[in-house]
Symmetry: C2
Subunit: 209 residues, 2 copies
Amino acid sequence: MMNKVHARGRRGRRPGRPETRAQVLDVARRRFLAEGYQVVTMRSIAAEAGVDAALVSYFFGSKRGLFGAVLALTANPPELLRAALPGDPASLPERVLGALLGAWDDPRQSGPLRVLVTAAVQDPELARLLTDAFEHEMVDRVADHIGGPHARYRAGAFVAQLAGLVFTRYVLRLEPLASMTADEITRHLAPGLRAALHGPRPVPQLVRA
Amino acid sequence: MMNKVHARGRRGRRPGRPETRAQVLDVARRRFLAEGYQVVTMRSIAAEAGVDAALVSYFFGSKRGLFGAVLALTANPPELLRAALPGDPASLPERVLGALLGAWDDPRQSGPLRVLVTAAVQDPELARLLTDAFEHEMVDRVADHIGGPHARYRAGAFVAQLAGLVFTRYVLRLEPLASMTADEITRHLAPGLRAALHGPRPVPQLVRA
């Protein structure tokens, strides 16, 4: 996508080289984290990076595209999930929780995650894009991985629980979730995730006590 | 809180009667739902309700207070949870899911719920108030209800799963969660909630396949 030729050899505000792209991303990342998705403008990022606003558009297409590029630099949910899928099915919940907690308990990662969720809640179009990505890269991927009857519903229940963890521990910072250690979270949340993957048992009517 | 006396008998823009309060709430509800928490001002609500802005402040204290009063009219999470707690412990997950789905699958209720979550994500101070309320009225209440070892962690895991359901089904509208029937949701999510309430079993090391 990057055309390095047209800008080569120029000096000043419009170099268009990979370093410029990285520099814009760096500024964008800092600004999105500090001010949130809605407030920041492409123009102000360009100004702070010392490049033309048109160059930022040329690199990233839109603010949404720039935001996506910033997020791609951070530990993002589908990426972490994909890496945790292979292995013993019996310990899949522990692996996924380990990967997510390992990444997001680091404040450098939980910051972007919070910004992502906030932006998605504020901007319906961005929410739609993210939801599409989560459906295909999380729910469908888990469903393919586990297979069996109602795989997509079981995967959906699994992903909903992960979303609940993200929302309570990192976004709302709801106690006790926010302060539990990674081990405590894993011990208390893995059983629910395992139950979701297993799916409903054909239980006889619940016996009343 | 309402002083009906001082406004009695007056005509025009400052009646200060219960009907006025209800009318302000009605306007506020419609405006918050249509435009979200951040955009709407007390002044514009007062103007549309045909009352003085000072009267709105007098009734509700602040925009946050007005928003709280609007939400109190709708099916709110702690209320629903409280009503679902009593009964057979074995079917508690089904009861809670039944209550939440019964309320929020109605679009008149899921609208306010979405506005609530959006507002909480946008306004850190509101988020703190809501998080406090959820801790005391949901996590602590479930913990008291179930008792036993690590009751607060088990209650936290339970509430995190409910938050995940709300966030995926009603806010993000993530599939398949968004389109599953209430029965399908209950069948696939109750086992995870039950596992959370039960808490971690003292499992021997997982046997590798």
